[in-house]
Protein backbone atom coordinates (compact mmCIF):
# COMPACT_ATOMS: atom_id res chain seq x y z
CA UNK A 1 0.00 0.00 0.00
CA UNK A 2 2.69 2.49 1.02
CA UNK A 3 4.75 1.40 -1.94
CA UNK A 4 1.77 2.04 -4.20
CA UNK A 5 1.21 5.54 -2.84
CA UNK A 6 4.89 6.32 -3.20
CA UNK A 7 4.91 5.07 -6.79
CA UNK A 8 1.85 7.10 -7.68
CA UNK A 9 3.44 10.23 -6.25
CA UNK A 10 6.64 9.50 -8.16
CA UNK A 11 4.64 9.11 -11.39
CA UNK A 12 2.86 12.33 -10.55
CA UNK A 13 6.08 14.35 -10.48
CA UNK A 14 6.91 14.15 -14.21
CA UNK A 15 3.26 14.77 -15.07
CA UNK A 16 3.38 17.81 -12.88
CA UNK A 17 6.63 18.93 -14.44
CA UNK A 18 5.24 18.43 -17.94
CA UNK A 19 2.20 20.58 -17.21
CA UNK A 20 4.27 23.50 -15.94
CA UNK A 21 6.69 23.25 -18.88
CA UNK A 22 3.78 23.16 -21.35
CA UNK A 23 2.09 26.20 -19.84
CA UNK A 24 5.34 28.13 -19.54
CA UNK A 25 6.22 27.24 -23.12
CA UNK A 26 2.81 28.29 -24.41
CA UNK A 27 3.04 31.68 -22.76
CA UNK A 28 6.58 32.07 -24.06
CA UNK A 29 5.80 31.40 -27.72
CA UNK A 30 2.76 33.67 -27.64
CA UNK A 31 3.23 36.66 -29.93
CA UNK A 32 3.15 40.17 -28.52
CA UNK A 33 5.11 42.10 -25.95
CA UNK A 34 4.23 41.17 -22.40
CA UNK A 35 5.22 44.58 -21.03
CA UNK A 36 2.24 46.05 -22.88
CA UNK A 37 0.05 44.41 -20.25
CA UNK A 38 1.72 46.09 -17.31
CA UNK A 39 0.44 49.57 -18.01
CA UNK A 40 -2.88 50.66 -19.41
CA UNK A 41 -2.65 50.76 -23.21
CA UNK A 42 -3.66 54.45 -23.42
CA UNK A 43 -0.42 55.43 -21.73
CA UNK A 44 2.37 55.39 -24.24
CA UNK A 45 5.43 53.85 -22.72
CA UNK A 46 8.90 54.70 -23.87
CA UNK A 47 11.22 51.87 -24.75
CA UNK A 48 13.39 52.73 -21.76
CA UNK A 49 10.45 52.37 -19.42
CA UNK A 50 9.66 49.00 -20.94
CA UNK A 51 13.26 47.89 -20.53
CA UNK A 52 13.11 48.95 -16.92
CA UNK A 53 10.07 46.77 -16.35
CA UNK A 54 11.82 43.88 -18.07
CA UNK A 55 14.83 44.19 -15.80
CA UNK A 56 12.74 44.61 -12.68
CA UNK A 57 10.72 41.46 -13.35
CA UNK A 58 13.67 39.52 -14.73
CA UNK A 59 12.12 39.35 -18.18
CA UNK A 60 15.45 40.21 -19.82
CA UNK A 61 16.79 36.79 -18.93
CA UNK A 62 16.50 33.76 -21.22
CA UNK A 63 13.47 31.43 -20.88
CA UNK A 64 15.35 28.58 -19.28
CA UNK A 65 16.72 30.83 -16.56
CA UNK A 66 13.27 32.26 -15.88
CA UNK A 67 11.69 28.83 -15.72
CA UNK A 68 14.46 27.61 -13.44
CA UNK A 69 14.01 30.59 -11.14
CA UNK A 70 10.30 30.07 -11.06
CA UNK A 71 10.71 26.38 -10.21
CA UNK A 72 13.26 27.12 -7.47
CA UNK A 73 10.96 29.67 -5.91
CA UNK A 74 8.03 27.26 -6.05
CA UNK A 75 10.08 24.65 -4.22
CA UNK A 76 10.73 27.28 -1.57
CA UNK A 77 6.99 27.89 -1.38
CA UNK A 78 7.06 31.23 -3.17
CA UNK A 79 4.77 31.59 -6.16
CA UNK A 80 5.91 35.13 -6.92
CA UNK A 81 3.96 38.33 -7.40
CA UNK A 82 1.25 39.23 -9.89
CA UNK A 83 2.31 41.31 -12.86
CA UNK A 84 -0.90 43.29 -12.95
CA UNK A 85 -1.12 44.53 -9.36
CA UNK A 86 1.94 43.25 -7.52
CA UNK A 87 0.02 41.19 -4.99
CA UNK A 88 1.45 37.84 -3.87
CA UNK A 89 0.19 35.00 -6.08
CA UNK A 90 -0.01 32.47 -3.27
CA UNK A 91 -2.27 34.56 -1.05
CA UNK A 92 -4.53 35.50 -3.99
CA UNK A 93 -4.94 31.87 -4.97
CA UNK A 94 -5.68 30.71 -1.42
CA UNK A 95 -8.37 33.34 -1.05
CA UNK A 96 -10.04 32.47 -4.36
CA UNK A 97 -9.54 28.75 -3.92
CA UNK A 98 -11.65 28.74 -0.77
CA UNK A 99 -14.56 30.34 -2.65
CA UNK A 100 -14.29 27.75 -5.43
CA UNK A 101 -13.94 24.90 -2.96
CA UNK A 102 -17.16 25.99 -1.29
CA UNK A 103 -18.96 26.17 -4.65
CA UNK A 104 -17.54 23.03 -6.25
CA UNK A 105 -17.68 21.04 -3.01
CA UNK A 106 -21.36 21.83 -2.54
CA UNK A 107 -22.07 21.02 -6.17
CA UNK A 108 -20.25 17.70 -5.99
CA UNK A 109 -21.99 16.77 -2.74
CA UNK A 110 -25.40 17.59 -4.22
CA UNK A 111 -24.52 15.85 -7.46
CA UNK A 112 -23.30 12.65 -5.81
CA UNK A 113 -26.19 12.29 -3.34
CA UNK A 114 -29.03 13.12 -5.71
CA UNK A 115 -27.38 11.36 -8.64
CA UNK A 116 -26.80 8.11 -6.75
CA UNK A 117 -30.30 8.21 -5.26
CA UNK A 118 -31.89 8.73 -8.69
CA UNK A 119 -29.65 6.04 -10.17
CA UNK A 120 -30.83 3.44 -7.68
CA UNK A 121 -34.41 4.63 -8.03
CA UNK A 122 -34.44 4.24 -11.81
CA UNK A 123 -32.48 0.98 -11.83
CA UNK A 124 -35.10 -0.63 -9.59
CA UNK A 125 -37.79 0.49 -12.02
CA UNK A 126 -36.11 -0.21 -15.33
CA UNK A 127 -38.28 0.62 -18.38
CA UNK A 128 -40.96 2.27 -16.21
CA UNK A 129 -42.27 5.77 -16.92
CA UNK A 130 -40.04 7.16 -14.15
CA UNK A 131 -37.04 5.47 -15.66
CA UNK A 132 -37.67 6.96 -19.10
CA UNK A 133 -38.39 10.40 -17.69
CA UNK A 134 -35.29 10.56 -15.50
CA UNK A 135 -32.98 8.90 -17.99
CA UNK A 136 -34.19 11.41 -20.57
CA UNK A 137 -33.59 14.25 -18.13
CA UNK A 138 -30.07 12.99 -17.45
CA UNK A 139 -29.45 12.98 -21.19
CA UNK A 140 -30.47 16.63 -21.21
CA UNK A 141 -28.28 17.29 -18.19
CA UNK A 142 -25.27 15.92 -20.03
CA UNK A 143 -26.04 17.65 -23.32
CA UNK A 144 -26.88 21.14 -22.04
CA UNK A 145 -23.67 23.05 -21.42
CA UNK A 146 -23.24 24.76 -18.05
CA UNK A 147 -23.26 28.24 -19.54
CA UNK A 148 -26.66 27.72 -21.17
CA UNK A 149 -28.09 26.10 -18.04
CA UNK A 150 -26.51 28.91 -16.02
CA UNK A 151 -28.11 31.78 -17.90
CA UNK A 152 -31.49 30.04 -17.99
CA UNK A 153 -31.44 29.40 -14.23
CA UNK A 154 -30.21 32.94 -13.58
CA UNK A 155 -33.00 34.26 -15.82
CA UNK A 156 -35.75 32.29 -14.10
CA UNK A 157 -34.83 32.21 -10.42
CA UNK A 158 -33.05 35.47 -10.00
CA UNK A 159 -34.24 37.92 -12.64
CA UNK A 160 -37.85 36.86 -13.01
CA UNK A 161 -38.73 35.34 -9.66
CA UNK A 162 -36.18 37.34 -7.65
CA UNK A 163 -35.67 34.52 -5.16
CA UNK A 164 -31.90 34.62 -5.23
CA UNK A 165 -29.25 37.27 -5.89
CA UNK A 166 -27.95 37.53 -9.45
CA UNK A 167 -24.31 37.26 -8.53
CA UNK A 168 -21.48 37.69 -6.09
CA UNK A 169 -20.83 35.94 -2.85
CA UNK A 170 -21.92 38.47 -0.24
CA UNK A 171 -24.56 41.20 0.12
CA UNK A 172 -23.42 44.73 -0.70
CA UNK A 173 -25.02 46.45 2.27
CA UNK A 174 -24.43 44.01 5.15
CA UNK A 175 -21.75 41.83 6.65
CA UNK A 176 -21.93 38.32 5.22
CA UNK A 177 -23.44 35.71 7.51
CA UNK A 178 -23.85 31.99 6.98
CA UNK A 179 -27.38 32.60 5.76
CA UNK A 180 -26.47 35.22 3.15
CA UNK A 181 -23.64 33.04 1.90
CA UNK A 182 -26.01 30.10 1.43
CA UNK A 183 -28.45 32.43 -0.27
CA UNK A 184 -25.77 33.45 -2.76
CA UNK A 185 -24.52 29.90 -3.11
CA UNK A 186 -27.80 28.21 -4.10
CA UNK A 187 -28.00 29.12 -7.80
CA UNK A 188 -24.35 28.66 -8.83
CA UNK A 189 -24.14 25.41 -6.86
CA UNK A 190 -27.34 24.21 -8.54
CA UNK A 191 -25.95 24.99 -12.01
CA UNK A 192 -22.63 23.35 -11.28
CA UNK A 193 -24.32 20.25 -9.84
CA UNK A 194 -26.46 19.51 -12.93
CA UNK A 195 -23.75 17.65 -14.83
CA UNK A 196 -22.61 15.64 -11.78
CA UNK A 197 -26.23 14.70 -10.98
CA UNK A 198 -26.70 13.39 -14.51
CA UNK A 199 -23.36 11.58 -14.53
CA UNK A 200 -23.75 9.97 -11.13
CA UNK A 201 -27.27 8.92 -12.00
CA UNK A 202 -26.29 7.24 -15.27
CA UNK A 203 -23.30 5.56 -13.68
CA UNK A 204 -25.19 4.30 -10.64
CA UNK A 205 -28.10 3.10 -12.73
CA UNK A 206 -25.80 1.13 -15.02
CA UNK A 207 -23.83 -0.38 -12.17
CA UNK A 208 -26.96 -1.18 -10.15
CA UNK A 209 -28.55 -2.91 -13.15
CA UNK A 210 -25.45 -5.09 -13.47
CA UNK A 211 -25.44 -6.00 -9.80
CA UNK A 212 -29.11 -6.91 -9.44
CA UNK A 213 -28.64 -9.48 -12.20
CA UNK A 214 -25.68 -11.07 -10.41
CA UNK A 215 -25.85 -14.64 -9.19
CA UNK A 216 -25.49 -13.79 -5.53
CA UNK A 217 -28.48 -11.47 -5.71
CA UNK A 218 -30.52 -14.26 -7.26
CA UNK A 219 -29.32 -16.50 -4.45
CA UNK A 220 -30.40 -13.94 -1.88
CA UNK A 221 -33.78 -13.77 -3.55
CA UNK A 222 -33.98 -17.56 -3.60
CA UNK A 223 -33.34 -17.60 0.11
CA UNK A 224 -36.48 -15.58 0.55
CA UNK A 225 -34.90 -12.36 1.76
CA UNK A 226 -37.04 -9.29 1.68
CA UNK A 227 -36.64 -6.94 -1.31
CA UNK A 228 -35.49 -4.05 0.82
CA UNK A 229 -32.74 -6.09 2.41
CA UNK A 230 -31.60 -7.41 -0.98
CA UNK A 231 -31.46 -3.91 -2.41
CA UNK A 232 -29.73 -2.10 0.40
CA UNK A 233 -27.65 -4.80 2.01
CA UNK A 234 -26.63 -6.97 -0.94
CA UNK A 235 -26.88 -4.90 -4.10
CA UNK A 236 -26.35 -1.23 -3.28
CA UNK A 237 -22.92 -1.41 -1.60
CA UNK A 238 -21.52 -3.39 -4.51
CA UNK A 239 -23.14 -1.14 -7.08
CA UNK A 240 -21.61 1.85 -5.35
CA UNK A 241 -18.03 0.62 -5.80
CA UNK A 242 -17.44 1.75 -9.41
CA UNK A 243 -19.23 5.01 -8.63
CA UNK A 244 -16.40 5.97 -6.26
CA UNK A 245 -14.13 6.36 -9.28
CA UNK A 246 -16.50 8.95 -10.66
CA UNK A 247 -15.79 11.21 -7.67
CA UNK A 248 -12.21 11.66 -8.79
CA UNK A 249 -13.08 11.72 -12.48
CA UNK A 250 -15.58 14.55 -11.90
CA UNK A 251 -12.91 16.95 -10.76
CA UNK A 252 -11.57 18.17 -14.11
CA UNK A 253 -15.09 18.81 -15.40
CA UNK A 254 -15.94 20.59 -12.14
CA UNK A 255 -12.98 22.90 -12.66
CA UNK A 256 -14.18 23.67 -16.18
CA UNK A 257 -17.77 24.06 -15.06
CA UNK A 258 -16.60 26.42 -12.32
CA UNK A 259 -15.03 28.74 -14.89
CA UNK A 260 -18.42 29.21 -16.60
CA UNK A 261 -20.58 29.20 -13.50
CA UNK A 262 -18.38 31.69 -11.69
CA UNK A 263 -18.37 33.96 -14.74
CA UNK A 264 -22.15 33.94 -14.98
CA UNK A 265 -22.73 34.47 -11.24
CA UNK A 266 -19.67 36.71 -10.65
CA UNK A 267 -18.48 34.25 -8.02
CA UNK A 268 -15.04 35.41 -6.79
CA UNK A 269 -13.32 32.05 -7.25
CA UNK A 270 -10.56 30.41 -9.26
CA UNK A 271 -12.57 30.44 -12.49
CA UNK A 272 -12.98 34.20 -12.65
CA UNK A 273 -9.41 34.63 -11.43
CA UNK A 274 -8.15 32.41 -14.24
CA UNK A 275 -9.91 34.54 -16.82
CA UNK A 276 -8.42 37.66 -15.24
CA UNK A 277 -4.99 36.05 -15.44
CA UNK A 278 -5.47 34.97 -19.05
CA UNK A 279 -6.80 38.32 -20.21
CA UNK A 280 -4.10 40.28 -18.39
CA UNK A 281 -1.36 37.84 -19.34
CA UNK A 282 -0.43 37.63 -15.70
CA UNK A 283 2.23 34.94 -16.10
CA UNK A 284 3.08 34.30 -12.42
CA UNK A 285 -0.60 34.03 -11.59
CA UNK A 286 -1.29 31.72 -14.56
CA UNK A 287 1.60 29.47 -13.63
CA UNK A 288 0.57 29.40 -9.99
CA UNK A 289 -3.02 28.56 -10.81
CA UNK A 290 -2.10 25.81 -13.23
CA UNK A 291 0.17 24.38 -10.59
CA UNK A 292 -2.64 24.35 -8.06
CA UNK A 293 -5.15 22.88 -10.51
CA UNK A 294 -2.70 20.13 -11.49
CA UNK A 295 -2.02 19.38 -7.81
CA UNK A 296 -5.71 19.18 -7.01
CA UNK A 297 -6.53 16.95 -9.99
CA UNK A 298 -3.62 14.58 -9.44
CA UNK A 299 -4.28 14.48 -5.70
CA UNK A 300 -7.93 13.69 -6.29
CA UNK A 301 -7.00 10.85 -8.62
CA UNK A 302 -4.70 9.37 -6.00
CA UNK A 303 -7.29 9.74 -3.24
CA UNK A 304 -9.93 8.10 -5.44
CA UNK A 305 -7.67 5.11 -6.07
CA UNK A 306 -6.99 4.74 -2.38
CA UNK A 307 -10.65 5.10 -1.46
CA UNK A 308 -11.52 2.43 -3.99
CA UNK A 309 -8.99 0.12 -2.42
CA UNK A 310 -10.39 0.73 1.06
CA UNK A 311 -13.94 0.14 -0.08
CA UNK A 312 -13.24 -2.95 -2.15
CA UNK A 313 -11.01 -5.50 -0.40
CA UNK A 314 -10.65 -7.41 -3.67
CA UNK A 315 -8.40 -4.65 -4.99
CA UNK A 316 -4.73 -5.21 -4.20
CA UNK A 317 -2.06 -2.63 -4.78
CA UNK A 318 1.26 -4.00 -5.86
Amino acid sequence: MQKYILRRILIGIPVFFAITVIIFGLIEIAPGDITDYFIRPELNMTDEAKDEIRIRFGLDQPVTVRYGNWLLNVLRGDLGYRYTNGQPVGATIIQRLSATTLLAGTALAIGATIGVALGVFTALRQYSAWDFLLTGASFLGISIPSFVAGIIILFIFSINLGWFPAGGMRPVDREPTLLTTIHHLVLPALVLSLAPIANFMRYTRFSMLEVIRADYVRTARGQGLRDRRITWRHSFPNALLPVITLLGLSLPSLVVGAVFTETIFSWPGMGTLYLEAVNGRDVPLLMGMNLVIALVVLGANLLTDLAYGLADPRIRYD
Binding site: A30, S143, P145, F147, V148, F155, F206, A294
Partner: protein, 307 residues
Protein backbone atom coordinates in the same frame (compact mmCIF):
# COMPACT_ATOMS: atom_id res chain seq x y z
CA UNK B 1 -12.39 -1.34 -24.73
CA UNK B 2 -14.12 -4.26 -26.33
CA UNK B 3 -12.79 -6.62 -28.94
CA UNK B 4 -13.07 -5.37 -32.53
CA UNK B 5 -16.60 -5.97 -33.64
CA UNK B 6 -16.19 -6.37 -37.35
CA UNK B 7 -13.99 -8.76 -39.12
CA UNK B 8 -10.74 -7.48 -40.53
CA UNK B 9 -10.78 -6.43 -44.15
CA UNK B 10 -7.58 -6.74 -46.14
CA UNK B 11 -7.12 -5.44 -49.63
CA UNK B 12 -3.91 -7.03 -50.81
CA UNK B 13 -4.62 -9.48 -53.66
CA UNK B 14 -3.30 -12.58 -51.95
CA UNK B 15 -4.80 -11.77 -48.61
CA UNK B 16 -7.98 -10.77 -50.37
CA UNK B 17 -8.45 -14.25 -51.78
CA UNK B 18 -7.91 -15.83 -48.42
CA UNK B 19 -10.31 -13.46 -46.81
CA UNK B 20 -13.05 -13.34 -49.42
CA UNK B 21 -15.58 -14.87 -47.04
CA UNK B 22 -14.42 -12.56 -44.29
CA UNK B 23 -14.99 -9.56 -46.51
CA UNK B 24 -18.48 -10.63 -47.35
CA UNK B 25 -19.13 -11.11 -43.65
CA UNK B 26 -17.80 -7.65 -42.94
CA UNK B 27 -20.15 -6.16 -45.51
CA UNK B 28 -23.03 -8.04 -43.93
CA UNK B 29 -22.03 -6.65 -40.54
CA UNK B 30 -22.07 -3.14 -41.97
CA UNK B 31 -25.54 -3.66 -43.38
CA UNK B 32 -26.75 -5.00 -40.06
CA UNK B 33 -25.32 -2.02 -38.25
CA UNK B 34 -27.05 0.32 -40.69
CA UNK B 35 -30.36 -1.48 -40.19
CA UNK B 36 -29.98 -1.32 -36.42
CA UNK B 37 -29.31 2.41 -36.68
CA UNK B 38 -32.40 3.00 -38.83
CA UNK B 39 -34.53 1.12 -36.33
CA UNK B 40 -33.46 3.59 -33.61
CA UNK B 41 -36.16 6.19 -34.05
CA UNK B 42 -34.64 8.90 -31.82
CA UNK B 43 -31.35 8.72 -33.71
CA UNK B 44 -33.03 8.94 -37.11
CA UNK B 45 -35.17 11.91 -36.08
CA UNK B 46 -32.05 13.59 -34.69
CA UNK B 47 -30.23 12.93 -37.94
CA UNK B 48 -33.05 14.51 -39.95
CA UNK B 49 -33.16 17.60 -37.69
CA UNK B 50 -29.41 17.96 -37.86
CA UNK B 51 -29.48 17.62 -41.64
CA UNK B 52 -32.06 20.42 -41.83
CA UNK B 53 -29.93 22.60 -39.55
CA UNK B 54 -26.81 22.00 -41.60
CA UNK B 55 -28.67 22.71 -44.83
CA UNK B 56 -30.16 25.90 -43.42
CA UNK B 57 -26.79 27.23 -42.31
CA UNK B 58 -25.13 26.28 -45.58
CA UNK B 59 -27.98 27.93 -47.51
CA UNK B 60 -27.63 31.07 -45.37
CA UNK B 61 -26.87 33.36 -48.34
CA UNK B 62 -30.17 32.27 -49.94
CA UNK B 63 -32.50 32.52 -46.97
CA UNK B 64 -30.98 35.40 -45.06
CA UNK B 65 -32.47 38.81 -45.67
CA UNK B 66 -29.50 40.91 -44.57
CA UNK B 67 -25.76 40.49 -44.41
CA UNK B 68 -24.77 39.35 -40.93
CA UNK B 69 -22.53 42.37 -40.39
CA UNK B 70 -24.97 44.83 -41.96
CA UNK B 71 -26.07 47.49 -39.47
CA UNK B 72 -29.62 48.86 -39.52
CA UNK B 73 -29.36 52.10 -37.57
CA UNK B 74 -33.11 52.70 -37.55
CA UNK B 75 -33.76 49.35 -35.87
CA UNK B 76 -31.30 48.87 -33.02
CA UNK B 77 -32.31 46.38 -30.30
CA UNK B 78 -35.52 45.86 -32.22
CA UNK B 79 -37.78 43.00 -31.12
CA UNK B 80 -38.91 40.53 -33.81
CA UNK B 81 -40.78 42.36 -36.60
CA UNK B 82 -41.83 41.64 -40.17
CA UNK B 83 -38.62 43.27 -41.30
CA UNK B 84 -36.31 41.49 -38.85
CA UNK B 85 -37.90 38.12 -38.12
CA UNK B 86 -35.79 37.44 -35.04
CA UNK B 87 -35.18 41.08 -34.12
CA UNK B 88 -31.83 42.84 -34.11
CA UNK B 89 -28.95 43.15 -31.70
CA UNK B 90 -27.74 46.31 -29.97
CA UNK B 91 -25.94 47.68 -33.00
CA UNK B 92 -28.83 46.81 -35.30
CA UNK B 93 -27.62 43.60 -36.92
CA UNK B 94 -30.24 41.06 -38.02
CA UNK B 95 -30.42 38.15 -35.54
CA UNK B 96 -31.87 35.69 -38.08
CA UNK B 97 -28.99 36.26 -40.43
CA UNK B 98 -26.43 36.08 -37.61
CA UNK B 99 -28.04 32.87 -36.38
CA UNK B 100 -27.62 31.21 -39.79
CA UNK B 101 -24.09 32.45 -40.33
CA UNK B 102 -23.19 31.78 -36.72
CA UNK B 103 -24.41 28.22 -37.21
CA UNK B 104 -22.10 27.91 -40.19
CA UNK B 105 -19.17 28.96 -38.02
CA UNK B 106 -20.18 26.75 -35.08
CA UNK B 107 -20.63 23.68 -37.28
CA UNK B 108 -17.44 24.45 -39.17
CA UNK B 109 -15.51 24.56 -35.91
CA UNK B 110 -17.24 21.37 -34.74
CA UNK B 111 -16.33 19.39 -37.86
CA UNK B 112 -12.93 21.04 -38.38
CA UNK B 113 -11.72 20.53 -34.83
CA UNK B 114 -12.93 16.92 -34.88
CA UNK B 115 -11.04 16.33 -38.12
CA UNK B 116 -7.88 17.68 -36.53
CA UNK B 117 -8.30 15.74 -33.30
CA UNK B 118 -9.15 12.50 -35.10
CA UNK B 119 -6.08 12.86 -37.31
CA UNK B 120 -3.77 13.48 -34.36
CA UNK B 121 -5.42 10.77 -32.25
CA UNK B 122 -5.28 8.20 -35.04
CA UNK B 123 -1.63 8.85 -35.85
CA UNK B 124 -0.52 8.78 -32.20
CA UNK B 125 -2.74 5.80 -31.38
CA UNK B 126 -1.50 3.86 -34.42
CA UNK B 127 2.17 4.52 -33.62
CA UNK B 128 1.58 3.63 -29.99
CA UNK B 129 -0.31 0.41 -30.66
CA UNK B 130 1.77 -0.80 -33.60
CA UNK B 131 5.26 -0.18 -32.29
CA UNK B 132 4.58 -0.67 -28.57
CA UNK B 133 7.69 -0.49 -26.35
CA UNK B 134 9.08 2.94 -25.54
CA UNK B 135 7.06 4.69 -28.28
CA UNK B 136 3.91 3.43 -26.62
CA UNK B 137 5.22 4.42 -23.20
CA UNK B 138 6.00 8.01 -24.20
CA UNK B 139 2.78 8.56 -26.13
CA UNK B 140 0.60 7.07 -23.42
CA UNK B 141 2.22 9.15 -20.68
CA UNK B 142 1.64 12.30 -22.74
CA UNK B 143 -1.96 11.17 -23.21
CA UNK B 144 -2.26 10.75 -19.45
CA UNK B 145 -1.07 14.32 -18.89
CA UNK B 146 -3.66 15.69 -21.31
CA UNK B 147 -6.39 13.48 -19.86
CA UNK B 148 -5.85 14.42 -16.23
CA UNK B 149 -5.54 18.14 -16.85
CA UNK B 150 -8.81 19.87 -17.82
CA UNK B 151 -8.05 20.78 -21.42
CA UNK B 152 -10.35 23.83 -21.56
CA UNK B 153 -7.99 25.50 -19.09
CA UNK B 154 -5.09 25.17 -21.53
CA UNK B 155 -7.39 26.19 -24.38
CA UNK B 156 -8.23 29.42 -22.56
CA UNK B 157 -4.55 30.24 -22.20
CA UNK B 158 -3.86 29.38 -25.83
CA UNK B 159 -6.87 31.30 -27.11
CA UNK B 160 -5.76 34.42 -25.28
CA UNK B 161 -2.17 34.16 -26.52
CA UNK B 162 -2.57 33.21 -30.18
CA UNK B 163 -3.84 35.55 -32.91
CA UNK B 164 -7.61 35.34 -32.87
CA UNK B 165 -9.45 33.74 -35.79
CA UNK B 166 -11.85 30.91 -36.51
CA UNK B 167 -8.96 28.73 -37.68
CA UNK B 168 -7.04 29.32 -34.46
CA UNK B 169 -10.05 28.02 -32.55
CA UNK B 170 -10.33 24.97 -34.82
CA UNK B 171 -6.66 24.25 -34.23
CA UNK B 172 -6.76 24.81 -30.47
CA UNK B 173 -9.78 22.59 -29.90
CA UNK B 174 -8.51 19.90 -32.25
CA UNK B 175 -5.00 19.90 -30.84
CA UNK B 176 -6.26 19.31 -27.30
CA UNK B 177 -9.08 16.80 -27.83
CA UNK B 178 -7.33 13.78 -29.33
CA UNK B 179 -6.75 11.67 -26.21
CA UNK B 180 -9.91 9.55 -26.46
CA UNK B 181 -9.28 8.75 -30.13
CA UNK B 182 -5.65 7.87 -29.46
CA UNK B 183 -6.62 5.41 -26.74
CA UNK B 184 -9.32 3.68 -28.79
CA UNK B 185 -7.12 3.39 -31.89
CA UNK B 186 -4.26 2.07 -29.80
CA UNK B 187 -6.33 -0.61 -28.08
CA UNK B 188 -7.85 -1.73 -31.39
CA UNK B 189 -4.47 -1.93 -33.08
CA UNK B 190 -2.94 -3.83 -30.17
CA UNK B 191 -5.33 -6.69 -30.87
CA UNK B 192 -5.43 -6.33 -34.67
CA UNK B 193 -1.68 -6.51 -35.09
CA UNK B 194 -1.64 -10.03 -33.67
CA UNK B 195 -4.00 -11.40 -36.32
CA UNK B 196 -3.02 -13.63 -39.23
CA UNK B 197 -3.69 -11.18 -42.02
CA UNK B 198 -1.07 -8.86 -40.60
CA UNK B 199 1.34 -11.75 -40.44
CA UNK B 200 0.50 -12.39 -44.09
CA UNK B 201 1.26 -8.76 -44.91
CA UNK B 202 4.60 -9.01 -43.15
CA UNK B 203 5.39 -12.22 -45.01
CA UNK B 204 4.66 -10.39 -48.26
CA UNK B 205 7.28 -7.84 -47.21
CA UNK B 206 4.98 -4.83 -46.92
CA UNK B 207 6.36 -1.80 -45.12
CA UNK B 208 5.02 -0.67 -41.76
CA UNK B 209 3.34 2.40 -43.23
CA UNK B 210 1.49 0.33 -45.81
CA UNK B 211 0.40 -2.24 -43.24
CA UNK B 212 -0.87 0.42 -40.86
CA UNK B 213 -2.60 2.67 -43.38
CA UNK B 214 -3.97 0.15 -45.87
CA UNK B 215 -4.58 -2.91 -43.73
CA UNK B 216 -5.06 -1.91 -40.12
CA UNK B 217 -6.69 1.52 -40.05
CA UNK B 218 -9.74 0.61 -42.21
CA UNK B 219 -10.61 -1.94 -39.53
CA UNK B 220 -10.35 0.62 -36.77
CA UNK B 221 -12.73 3.17 -38.25
CA UNK B 222 -15.87 1.26 -37.27
CA UNK B 223 -15.10 1.66 -33.60
CA UNK B 224 -14.30 5.34 -34.15
CA UNK B 225 -17.61 6.39 -35.69
CA UNK B 226 -19.47 6.86 -32.41
CA UNK B 227 -16.47 8.56 -30.80
CA UNK B 228 -16.16 10.97 -33.72
CA UNK B 229 -19.86 11.83 -33.54
CA UNK B 230 -19.63 12.68 -29.85
CA UNK B 231 -16.42 14.61 -30.53
CA UNK B 232 -18.25 16.88 -33.00
CA UNK B 233 -20.85 17.73 -30.37
CA UNK B 234 -18.24 18.39 -27.75
CA UNK B 235 -16.18 20.56 -30.12
CA UNK B 236 -19.26 22.67 -30.92
CA UNK B 237 -19.83 23.14 -27.19
CA UNK B 238 -16.19 23.95 -26.54
CA UNK B 239 -16.21 26.63 -29.23
CA UNK B 240 -19.41 28.05 -27.80
CA UNK B 241 -17.91 28.02 -24.33
CA UNK B 242 -14.72 29.78 -25.38
CA UNK B 243 -16.72 32.34 -27.36
CA UNK B 244 -19.08 32.82 -24.42
CA UNK B 245 -16.07 33.74 -22.29
CA UNK B 246 -14.97 36.18 -25.00
CA UNK B 247 -11.97 34.07 -26.02
CA UNK B 248 -13.39 32.22 -29.01
CA UNK B 249 -14.46 33.26 -32.48
CA UNK B 250 -13.65 36.97 -32.72
CA UNK B 251 -16.45 39.43 -33.56
CA UNK B 252 -17.87 40.59 -35.92
CA UNK B 253 -17.91 36.98 -37.16
CA UNK B 254 -20.95 35.47 -35.47
CA UNK B 255 -21.04 32.08 -33.78
CA UNK B 256 -23.74 30.71 -31.50
CA UNK B 257 -21.29 31.05 -28.63
CA UNK B 258 -20.44 34.70 -29.09
CA UNK B 259 -24.10 35.55 -29.76
CA UNK B 260 -24.84 33.93 -26.42
CA UNK B 261 -22.19 36.09 -24.82
CA UNK B 262 -24.72 38.94 -24.97
CA UNK B 263 -26.60 37.19 -22.14
CA UNK B 264 -23.73 37.98 -19.77
CA UNK B 265 -25.11 41.51 -19.75
CA UNK B 266 -27.93 41.52 -17.16
CA UNK B 267 -29.87 44.16 -19.08
CA UNK B 268 -29.92 42.03 -22.24
CA UNK B 269 -30.63 38.89 -20.22
CA UNK B 270 -33.62 40.56 -18.59
CA UNK B 271 -35.12 42.76 -21.27
CA UNK B 272 -33.91 41.64 -24.69
CA UNK B 273 -34.38 37.86 -24.72
CA UNK B 274 -34.53 37.61 -28.55
CA UNK B 275 -30.80 38.29 -28.59
CA UNK B 276 -29.77 35.22 -26.59
CA UNK B 277 -32.64 32.71 -26.65
CA UNK B 278 -32.29 31.68 -30.34
CA UNK B 279 -28.57 30.83 -30.20
CA UNK B 280 -29.13 28.99 -26.90
CA UNK B 281 -31.88 26.89 -28.48
CA UNK B 282 -29.85 26.17 -31.60
CA UNK B 283 -26.85 25.16 -29.55
CA UNK B 284 -28.77 22.80 -27.29
CA UNK B 285 -30.76 21.37 -30.20
CA UNK B 286 -27.64 20.67 -32.25
CA UNK B 287 -25.77 19.04 -29.40
CA UNK B 288 -28.80 16.96 -28.41
CA UNK B 289 -29.11 15.76 -32.01
CA UNK B 290 -25.42 14.92 -32.21
CA UNK B 291 -25.57 12.99 -28.93
CA UNK B 292 -28.67 11.06 -30.00
CA UNK B 293 -26.97 10.16 -33.28
CA UNK B 294 -23.84 9.16 -31.37
CA UNK B 295 -25.90 6.91 -29.10
CA UNK B 296 -27.58 5.37 -32.12
CA UNK B 297 -24.29 4.77 -33.89
CA UNK B 298 -22.73 3.21 -30.82
CA UNK B 299 -25.65 0.88 -30.29
CA UNK B 300 -25.68 -0.05 -33.96
CA UNK B 301 -21.96 -0.75 -34.21
CA UNK B 302 -21.63 -2.44 -30.85
CA UNK B 303 -25.00 -3.75 -29.64
CA UNK B 304 -23.47 -5.26 -26.51
CA UNK B 305 -22.80 -1.86 -24.97
CA UNK B 306 -25.81 -0.59 -23.08
CA UNK B 307 -25.82 2.47 -20.87
Amino acid sequence: MTEPTQRPRASAPVVQMQNATDRRAAKRDDKRALRRFIRNRAAVVALVILAVLVLATVAAPLIQRYQYEQIDLRARSSPPTAEHWFGTDRVGRDIWSRLLNGGQVSLLVGFGATLVSTLIGTVLGALSGYYRGWVDMVIMRVTDVFMTFPSIIIMLTLAAMLPRSVWTIVFIIGALSWTGTARVVRSQILSLREQEFILACRALGYGDARIIIVHILPNVFGSLVALVTFAIGSAILTEAGLSFLGLGVPPPTPSWGNMLEAARNLDILRNLPWMWVPPAIMLVLTVLCVNFIGDGVRDAVDPRMVL
